[in-house]
């Protein structure tokens, strides 16, 4: 039982579990924080960005000024943004038999794995995960491909060069492994390898291992996985939530009696209460609009946005915002809103009940019908005709490096009337804003992360009582910025085993039994002439000595059944049987 850790990002995991001679990849997260080192991709020519000075070394040499630009004291790579892939060298990824996906955020590296490593196995995921994952990938590919960039910087990646660069570029890991975004054909090829599964469906792998997805309560179709044989059980908990939002609640009971529990995808903002953040979000939004400013919400096209729209649906009339237009801009905006309405079976009880009426489960259907919420594939086309200010815009990408959001940052950044509200927790908002400095626009940080916090984790662990817990090393110590908060770490007995990128762990387990099956042909022959067993009956329990196809038993039963049995009981230490009569 071995765990290969291919990603160091605790919420975008990628691990490989070797279990009973099957090789199972758990999630395929893509670390996109690497893009923060790049300049944003503007949709329309940005004079400000193109005027940024090239970076000059302390000694005055300018050989990097084409690749690196400086903005308010930060240095950025002027190139197509690149992503930090999971480790591909730690083991031969073509030997991976199956990939289990826990939620749509954790599958973004899938095309890199399935299309570049010789992978020939099967990927398992739920239907909402696949559909929404496809939308996320589509948006990503689209927002990068629509801004073709002539130059591709590579000089700075040279080890000697990287050493002299300022932080954070200097400390960036494995820059040589960073890759450009995949293409739509690759996405389609990757997604075609997925087999759809339902919650609590038992999937047999090669007859040796059974895997089962369980509802994890975090997102539409999000799942935890049980990987088990008859006598070993590994639970993989990734991105779970106990809050009541739109998805089906988390299934905790089925995680009980695990030998090993792998714990990833906890909240990235353990100190923020999501409910409070939503309140703050609404009040900041209302205040800005009332003062005549615009609100920009950088977000993913699916997930928390559904909950935000639902809150706004209840809030806008009472806050007097009924006439403010809400825009949702993404190449997949329409699809995302439509898809959210058809996954009744994956929704929480309240939403299911609505579908039974039948009514759309999410109230954004009504927002669209009443024209309060409008969605557009991009800022070009219809949007430019309909665009009215002040307004609220939901658009991606939350990294602020590509997508329509770049345009609104350039457009609204100069006025202090406008506000950008960060709700997605994946990127540090200060880093995200760095290439836009100096900025007059107000910035509000309301990260909404519904995943488990440490209090919930310790409660969960007490409840399900795994023998061993394995988690990323980040969870075994307090966050670096709050080193005194010893409550912000996983606390359990025995202490969790921790892993970091590129490490291989041997997981502890002890099993004493294995399941086999006795064919009915064998068991039925008990007592018959050419049978299989010798029977002893000590007290209440039976004891069969069994030999398959064993001539001795045949012979014994042939000649001596009664005699021997009787003799065995009378004379319990040894028996001598003469075969001379034959």
């Amino acid at each position: 039982l071995k765990l290969y850790c291919l990603s160091g990002h605790p919420t975008l995991p990628c691990n490989v579990l070797k279990f009973k001679s099957t090789t199972i990849m758990l999630d395929c997260g893509l670390d996109m924080t690497s893009t923060l080192n790049f300049l944003p991709l503007p949709l329309v020519q940005s004079p400000r960005l193109s005027r940024l000075p090239g970076w000059v070394l302390k000694d005055g040499s300018t050989f990097l000024d084409k690749e690196l630009k400086e903005c308010s004291g930060h240095v950025f790579v002027d190139s197509v943004p690149e992503f930090c892939l999971p480790e591909t060298e730690l083991l031969d990824l073509s030997t991976v038999d199956v990939i289990l996906i826990s939620n749509y955020h954790c599958m973004m590296a899938l095309p890199y794995i399935t299309e570049y490593t010789g992978f020939t196995g099967t990927v398992y995921a739920t239907e909402p995960t696949v559909q929404i994952g496809r939308l996320l990938m589509e948006e990503l590919v689209n927002s990068i491909e629509r801004v073709p960039k002539a130059q591709s910087a590579s000089m700075w990646k040279n080890k000697e060069v990287q050493r002299v660069l300022p932080a954070p570029l200097k400390d960036a890991v494995e820059v040589s492994m960073w890759r450009k975004c995949y293409t739509m054909p690759e996405v389609n090829a990757a997604l075609s390898k997925i087999q759809l599964v339902g919650y609590s469906q038992k999937i047999e792998l090669f007859g040796a291992v059974q895997v089962t997805p369980l509802s994890s309560g975090y997102a539409l179709g999000s799942s935890n996985w049980i990987i088990q044989s008859h006598y070993e059980k590994v639970s993989y908990v990734s991105g779970s939530s106990l809050l009541t939002t739109h998805p089906q609640p988390m299934d905790q009971a089925s995680l009980k009696n695990s030998d090993v529990l792998i714990l990833t995808g906890l909240t990235q903002i353990p100190t923020a209460n999501p409910d409070g953040m939503v309140g703050e979000f609404c009040s900041n939004l209302a205040m800005t609009v009332r003062n005549g400013g615009n609100v920009l919400v950088p977000c993913y096209p699916s997930g928390v946005i559904y909950d935000l729209l639902e809150c706004l649906y209840q809030y806008i009339d009472s806050a007097g915002l009924s006439n403010v237009p809400f825009y949702f801009i993404s190449p997949v905006a329409n699809s995302s809103l439509e898809f959210s309405q058809i996954f009744a079976e994956w929704l929480c009880h309240n939403k299911q009940t609505k579908v039974y009426l039948p009514e759309p489960p999410f109230p954004h259907a009504e927002l669209i019908q009443t024209n309060k919420l409008k969605h557009y594939p991009s800022i070009h086309g219809d949007f430019s005709n309909d665009f009215k200010q002040p307004c609220v815009v939901f658009t991606g990408h939350p990294s602020l490096r590509f997508g329509d959001v770049v345009h609104f940052m350039e457009l609204w950044g100069k006025s202090s009337l406008n506000t950008v509200i960060f709700t997605e927790p994946d990127f540090s908002y200060l880093d995200a804003l760095a290439p836009y400095q100096p900025l007059a626009m107000k910035c509000v940080y309301c990260p909404i992360d519904t995943r488990l916090n440490f209090i919930q984790v310790s409660k969960l662990l007490k409840e399900v009582q795994p023998l061993h817990v394995v988690c990323p090393e980040q969870y075994t110590q307090p966050p670096p910025t709050q080193s005194h908060r010893t409550d912000l770490m996983v606390d359990c007995q025995p202490p969790p085993m921790s892993y970091r990128r590129a490490e291989v762990l041997t997981l502890p387990y002890k099993r004493r039994y294995e399941k086999i099956e006795i064919m009915p042909e064998v068991s039925n022959k008990n007592g018959e002439k050419d049978g299989g067993f010798l029977l002893i009956q000590p007290n209440s329990s039976y004891c069969f000595s069994i030999k398959y196809k064993l001539p001795i038993i045949q012979r014994v039963t042939h000649i001596l059944t009664d005699v021997i049995l009787k003799y065995l009981f009378d004379n319990p230490i040894s028996t001598n049987v003469s075969l001379d009569q034959r």
Binding site: H230, R511, I516, C543, I546, L550, I552
Partner: protein
Amino acid sequence: MPEIKVTPLGAGQDVGRSCILVSIAGKNVMLDCGMHMGYNDDRRFPDFSYITQNGRLTDFLDCVIISHFHLDHCGALPYFSEMVGYDGPIYMTHPTKAICPILLEDYRKITVDKKGETNFFTSQMIKDCMKKVVAVHLHQTVQVDEELEIKAYYAGHVLGAAMFQIKVGCESVVYTGDYNMTPDRHLGAAWIDKCRPDLLITESTYATTIRDSKRCRERDFLKKVHETVERGGKVLIPVFALGRAQELCILLETFWERMNLKAPIYFSTGLTEKANHYYKLFITWTNQKIRKTFVQRNMFEFKHIKAFDRAFADNPGPMVVFATPGMLHAGQSLQIFRKWAGNEKNMVIMPGYCVQGTVGHKILSGQRKLEMEGRQILEVKMQVEYMSFSAHADAKGIMQLIRQAEPRNVLLVHGEAKKMEFLKQKIEQEFHVSCYMPANGETTTIFTNPSIPVDISLGLLKRETAIGLAPDVKKPKLMHGTLIMKDNSFRLVSPEQALKELGLAEHQLRFTCRVHIQDPRKEHETVLRVYNHLKGVLKDYSVQHLPDGSITVESILIQATAHSEDQGTKVLLVSWTYQDEELGSYLTSLLKKGLPPSTA
């Protein structure tokens, strides 16, 4: 020997009132709980007194499974759970759970409000009954209790229809409900994996028919509608709100678009509109094409089909109207029918089966003068067409499903006895499995032969696989171990461990055998000859000549003595423990063949 018992309370050699009791490994499951369209008395519901005469049914049933929302499969549910009394779990898919109470309420209204029956279930009972329903996902393994598990498979037929696998340990039954093996305009085809159940209970509505291709029927339908509309006539299509209505709407919608037709299409308000909503929200249950394109164009948002208003029936000019109910026995479809029946330019198309006694049945059997209430005589001049669009598997489809699932036995329900008989023979011939077709109240018993799962100690497994050559997957392997049966569990452990656990002393069993050899030489010379012989033959074994004059082959002992009477005969005493039986008996037979002529 373990057995599975099946008793249909309804749908045994009959269509309607589906209700089948299954007993498997001590668990009792009821499959469907339907009503019979053809009866208005006690016979309309299954006879639950078969299960128990007194006391609540909860004590006798572990769970109830409903395959889909048609009333002949769920119509008796509120009566069963609220009036007879059952509090256990009822399983159905999400769409079935959503739509079922609406159809039950509709059924109740017609029976109580229109026909004035009393002693029928109430709206509250429907609500209370639905509270006992647990919704299941496709392919989800639902653990009813520790031993009993069920799993749903896609069945086509209608929105949310499912086949169910019922499994206890190694024994399993699959119940198909109603299913369709060919995808239609709005639903996909039924699918099941090679789950090899002990018993497959399948519907057999179209046991003897191989239906012509659906395309032909569709073309026929469109042609008739088109012709009528072209000559300025009106087309009435009586339908039930859910199911065929949506398929036909899609068919007409696409045809109207392609042909650029202008004549209005209406569907009667109420249920049908609501029904389309269900299809929109449960679009993941429809066929692949609709699912793929729903973002661009939701097939259930019809452009050409508009809601019907009562006043429209008198509008001049051509039109097409879908109206409920489907058998023309009451409501809007009957009203419109009365208005239009007198004009030979008009047409009524019956897209489904009609029960005896209904207006639909009468006109389909050729009656042209109908007596309506108030002794009025209605003369039917309009054209009457029948077109089967019901989505059941035909004989080919049923055989295909059997091939997919590979059951050990097949049991037919939901069909006519004569047709079943034909299909039964066909199944037995082609698949060489037993096929049953019990009548209502008749019990079929099937014997099963399950494998016995055993826990084997890992130490033993490793030790046993380490012995001998590298494991060969294809060859059976000899294993030594002790099986301990305790508290209903089986464990296979090493004999030492078993003895320790049970507090027993090991019992030695030794076999001895005397082999006579003709050899006039001295004893020790005979021994030497035997030794040389064995050493030559048994090259892979350790053969030793001990100082006391005996020979050992591994742990087998051979001693030679002269025969007391005949000095020319030597007696070889071979002795071995039962663990060495194989080698021991081989050795004896080897020695019995005698020694080779001496070379010394």
